[in-house]
């Protein structure tokens, strides 16, 4: 079984298990051949891992065109150190920013709306330093500016009708989502689409009611060009904030896909879980004529 078959099977399998409830419909986009749907690489050199996953998807130039304004959106949610694996690995973020710059991006913005105090998160995650160490004026780490949340109508939403979304995320030509794969009390795991919560304003706690549906709804408006899941270190318990090194496992894996659901689905297997075990958009998101839509 090759990788592609595996993923297809995983998705079909999860769809099969959830036939009784709203489900992910497997459509031609998954079956279609062409450039890889999803790339997975393992190894201890994380910069190389980023390069390799991008290469198997046709290289960053496939996603970032010269002059593009790019957002790289890691998870910087917590006042935790890189070893504690609560935030995206700064090495991975830096490598992605570098790749985007090399592909000709005119600007690469890195930000997240944090859960703990912003400055502590940006500093202690190592992400601010990592991006600044590039010494490139085009690469910027910015704190959230509350003036930039704009109300967005979620036309195809089932559980959400409007949402305040960060302007820079909406305006970007390319949006690269870089979650870290980790344990999450409510939703089982937090992966790609959960990471999109970092661009919404207001009282985000509300997202937790019916989180699967709401994340699916959110995915109809925040659509990443590329999802790169950082599973170099994964948090197996006490997530999403962690804090205990005993809960951190070295997985040395990075996966990337243009399809956020496929990326999330594959990532569940790193935790010995099945895709349908996460209270999730996997059940409720449907690919329909080139767009993700929510189903009930």
């Amino acid at each position: 079984m090759n990788r592609r078959e595996f993923i297809r099977d995983v998705l079909l399998w999860s769809a099969g298990l959830t036939l009784s409830i709203p489900r992910l419909t497997i459509t031609e986009s998954f079956a279609a051949s062409g450039p890889s749907l999803l790339a997975v690489e393992k190894g201890p050199d994380h910069v190389q891992l980023v390069r390799r996953v991008l290469a198997s998807l046709g290289g960053m130039k496939n996603f970032v065109r010269p002059g593009d304004r790019v957002v790289v959106k890691p998870n910087i949610g917590w006042d935790r150190s890189p070893e504690q694996a609560a935030n995206t690995n700064p090495v991975v973020v830096k490598a992605l920013v570098e790749e985007a710059l090399e592909a000709g991006a005119s600007r690469v913005l890195v930000f997240d709306r944090t859960c703990n105090e912003e400055r502590r998160c940006y500093t202690n995650s190592g992400i601010a330093d990592a991006v600044q160490s590039l010494n490139n004026k085009k690469a910027r780490v910015e704190y959230i500016d509350n003036r930039k949340f704009v109300p967005v109508e979620i036309k195809r939403g089932k559980s959400l009708t409007t949402m305040e979304i960060y302007k820079d995320a909406l305006d970007a030509d390319r949006y690269i989502n870089v979650p870290i794969a980790k344990h999450h009390g409510l939703s089982g795991l937090t992966l790609g689409l959960k990471n999109s919560m970092g661009v919404i304003g207001g009282r985000r706690g509300m997202m937790h009611f019916n989180i699967g549906q709401k994340l699916a709804d959110l995915a109809t408006v925040v659509q990443p060009t590329l999802t790169v899941i950082d599973a170099t270190k994964i948090l197996m318990a006490n997530g999403p904030q962690g804090g205990d090194l005993k809960d951190v496992q070295i997985a040395d894996t990075i996966l990337a896909s243009t399809d956020p659901v496929a990326a999330d689905a594959y990532a569940t297997t790193l935790f010995d879980m099945r895709p349908d075990e996460i209270e999730s958009r996997l059940r409720r998101t449907k690919w329909d004529s080139g767009k993700w839509i929510s189903t009930r």
């Binding site: 006042d79 859960c115 703990n116 105090e117 912003e118 400055r119 502590r120 500093t123 202690n124 003036r147 999450h184 009390g185 409510l186 009282r203 706690g205 509300m206 937790h208 009611f209 019916n210 989180i211 006490n238 999403p240 904030q241 962690g242 804090g243 205990d244 809960d247 209270e279």
Partner: protein, 527 residues
Amino acid sequence: MRKRIPRVPRTFWRRLSQWAFLLLFFFLFIKTDYTGSDEIEYAVNILFRIDPLLAASVMLAVKTFVALMLPALALLVLTLILGRFFCGWVCPMGALIDLFHPLLKPGTKEIDTRFPQMPLIILLFVLVSAFFGLPMAGYFDPFSILVRGLSLSAYPALNDSLATVFTFTYQEAPPYVNAVTEPVYAFLKKTILPYSQKVYTLSLLSGFILVAVFLAERIQQRFFCRNICPLGALLGLTARAGLLKGHGGSDDCAKCRACRSVCRMGAIDPDRRIGMHECILCLDCLEKCPRGIIDFRFSKPVAGPAPVSLTRRSLMASMAAGALLPMFTGSRTIARLSDPLLIRPPGALAEDEFLERCVRCGECMKVCIGNALHPTFLESGIEGMFSPKLIAQVGYCEFNCTLCGQVCPTGAIKALPLEEKHTFKIGHAFFDKNRCLPYAKGIPCIVCEEHCPTPEKAIGFNTATVKNDRGEEIKVKQPYIVDRLCIGCGICENKCPLPDQAAVRVTAAGEQRHPQKTIPASSMDYY
């Protein structure tokens, strides 16, 4: 012929010094914040540590020597040599008062101090009552009033006003306006504005007290310094015995009394003699004297004006007030039942000693990165007003932050090493199952659990099958507190998505500074 260099008035140096210290004060004030490092570099707390009034009050109250306040001795020694130079040349409150004076000065100048005995009465009262267990120095100390008024009121108000202006330009103004305003705003944010907008209880009151000090200039110049300031009184008493003496009018003098009418402190009597108790060495009289005969030099005592002193009656009365008032503290309900929501910062000493040490400077609240600390109103008695307490629903205590203990000038909040802070229990969270969504409404939530910062989470959950309001049977995760792990940081209460009162609330139960408040728990050793 050589050009004559214009003479610099001697008051210039005093003004320069006032400006320099005022700017230093503002620099330290702005720096009293998280700056990317867990250790704070500069903090405005040095101002409180050189304050002999607060030092005396704190040491009398706790009846031990407080090494943190040793710098106050240096100020006393300097005052013994130079007189009240501090009030005229250094004090940021004095500098601000002088700065505002031209805007507020009354039409006719009042020369004699309105209530010359008042500062001494306040001083005695404050020290005696501190000794007997009712610490009040923070209400009258100029730095406490100043830093508190700025931190809790003026500074957040300034930030909010500017944010309103720049949000308007950002959202409504054309791009060519924003090309100017946005860089200006970014610059202000980077330099003088706080990182985030904060809100405080007692914000208006703190601001009003500070404004009142300035408004009192309408009554007479340096009204606060002459009629209220107990620190000034203490420095004045020291200066009276000091080495530097003012030599005022003599028999050669034309008795014009220009010196007396220019004096901002009412320190010069009709015989043109200078009282070193009041004189703050502003040097205005030197410049004003038409014959230039006024002089300050180290000398043997010279005949001065009759020194301000308390009548025996007011001396006794202020001491009696200071000694008697504390007797009533035991008659209040808080002597038996402390406020259940009075959560003190991590590292705070046991309540009595905490209040004896706390000088109400507001620095912990200024530096609190989560906007968790707020001034108490009457929850801990009149002597507790403006002392810090945690209001979790406004802000929570950031797990990895130890700044409040680092800036506390008196050790009322111990500076905790991070590891100790991580397990320092300031309170305890309780779920209200009538409100908590998974319990009350069958709605999945556990936002609290997600945010709980202890490495092994202090919030666990059980999975239960309940009916929601559609009548559907649904599996939800119902959270509970793990008693031995909860430190009372309040992030659960803060992040609870209910629109009003959170469904999980932190109280002072179990706070480790009071062992008698330990909560019964079956998981604990003594059960």
